[in-house]
């Protein structure tokens, strides 16, 4: 295995048309083209996808888990923000 690490890339795969791209994992590659090829080989070899996005990991800005308190906890007791007070007809799926 090589000692110098290639940049890390995040891989998003659309499983089938109509669905959104989902994060599948990450891998190493020297450039975007190689990242696409590697993603094809690593994540779609069992027919998992119809489209691939690659993003170099450094371009993803993540929230800091230390801030979870102020970011997420205030939403915990605001049940009125959920649309659970409506009764949905049975015919409507995927809500």
């Amino acid at each position: 295995m090589s000692k110098k690490n290639w940049p890390l890339w995040e891989i998003f795969v659309r499983s089938k048309n109509g669905l959104e791209h989902r994060h599948f994992g990450s891998l190493h590659a020297t450039d975007a083209e190689m990242a696409l090829e590697n993603a094809r080989d690593v994540y779609t070899r069992r027919n998992e996808g119809v489209s691939i996005w690659v993003v170099e990991s450094k371009h993803i800005i993540a929230s800091n888990p230390e801030n979870n308190g102020e970011l997420f906890e205030p939403a915990q007791d605001k049940v009125y923000r959920h649309p659970t007070f409506y009764t949905l007809p049975d015919e409507i799926k995927h809500m």
Binding site: L27, H28, E37, N38, D41, R45
Partner: protein, 270 residues
């Protein structure tokens, strides 16, 4: 293969006695399939030993593509051979002189440059060949080619990209890929030699005249090498023999590993 009716006497339509033609076709198929078998086996050696996880998986994917194609060819060959022969018999139970692969595919992956150069020099040929074979009069071979073209197109893309990356990469990577291209160059000419089964099958409209692919092959290879800022070797001495069953010193070792299970446990099945 489903498209072949077992022992159909009309498989080949010519005045030549059927069994002679059948044997020619059998040998013609081996001439195609053994390249994929041996290169697939060579690539398989890298499983768990690739330069990194991603390349490791990519190379073994290619290996599996090639072995998948080999299976289709051998299933067809086994049908032609009759006597309840199976694809495994064809793959594992021949002696060295009966393997028809070109010398290029049995050359060792001395370093990653050799793995890529060997792959690249074969892939360019393989795609040109498959593009012709899909129009073969033999439906089974045409079907295998049609399915294989998509796989092989990806192989070409993968190995060409790597040639460019290494050639136009660092000083060391350039040196190594050039070394490998130079060393393997002498095995390229054999691809375009015609064998007896080739000639017989060309006249049936089944086989491909590989000698006609030569010019296009070298122009495509040169194009990529130029793009990779590599030298196109000018050597004029070429090795040959594999197509006639005369192999390099590496072949015996490849076969002893390939055949080990069938030789040790005859008739074993997975």
């Amino acid at each position: 293969m489903n498209s072949l009716k077992n022992n159909d006497p009309n498989v080949l339509s010519s005045g030549v006695p059927d069994n002679v033609q059948k044997e020619m076709l059998y040998n013609y198929i081996l001439g195609i399939a053994d390249n994929s078998l041996i290169l697939g086996q060579r690539l398989g050696e890298l499983c768990g030993h690739g330069p990194n996880l991603e390349t490791d998986i990519a190379l073994t994917n290619i290996s599996l593509d090639l072995l998948g194609q080999t299976r289709s060819y051998f299933q067809y060959a086994a049908l032609l051979a009759g006597d309840d022969k199976t694809e495994d018999d064809v793959a594992f139970l021949r002696i060295e002189r009966e393997y028809r692969n070109i010398l290029l595919v049995e050359q060792p992956g001395t370093h990653f440059g050799y793995v890529i150069a060997r792959q690249f020099l074969f892939d360019i040929y393989h795609l040109l060949f498959m593009e012709k074979l899909q129009f073969s009069k033999d439906e089974t071979l045409a079907a295998i080619a049609k399915k294989g073209i998509k796989e092989v197109s990806y192989h070409v893309r993968f190995s060409s990209d790597w040639v460019k990356r290494l050639g136009d990469g660092t000083e060391e990577s350039k040196l190594k890929i050039q070394e490998a291209i130079d060393d393997l160059w002498g095995y390229t000419d054999e691809m375009f030699h015609l064998t007896e089964p080739d000639t017989a099958m060309i006249s049936e409209g089944i086989g491909i005249d590989v000698s006609g692919l030569k010019e296009l092959y070298y122009s495509k290879v040169s194009e990529i090498l130029n793009e990779a800022t590599l030298e196109v070797p000018q050597g004029t001495f070429f090795q040959k023999g594999g197509k006639e069953g005369v192999h390099s010193e590496y072949m015996g070792y490849i076969l002893s590993e390939l055949q080990y299970m069938q030789r040790t446990y005859p008739n074993m099945k997975w």
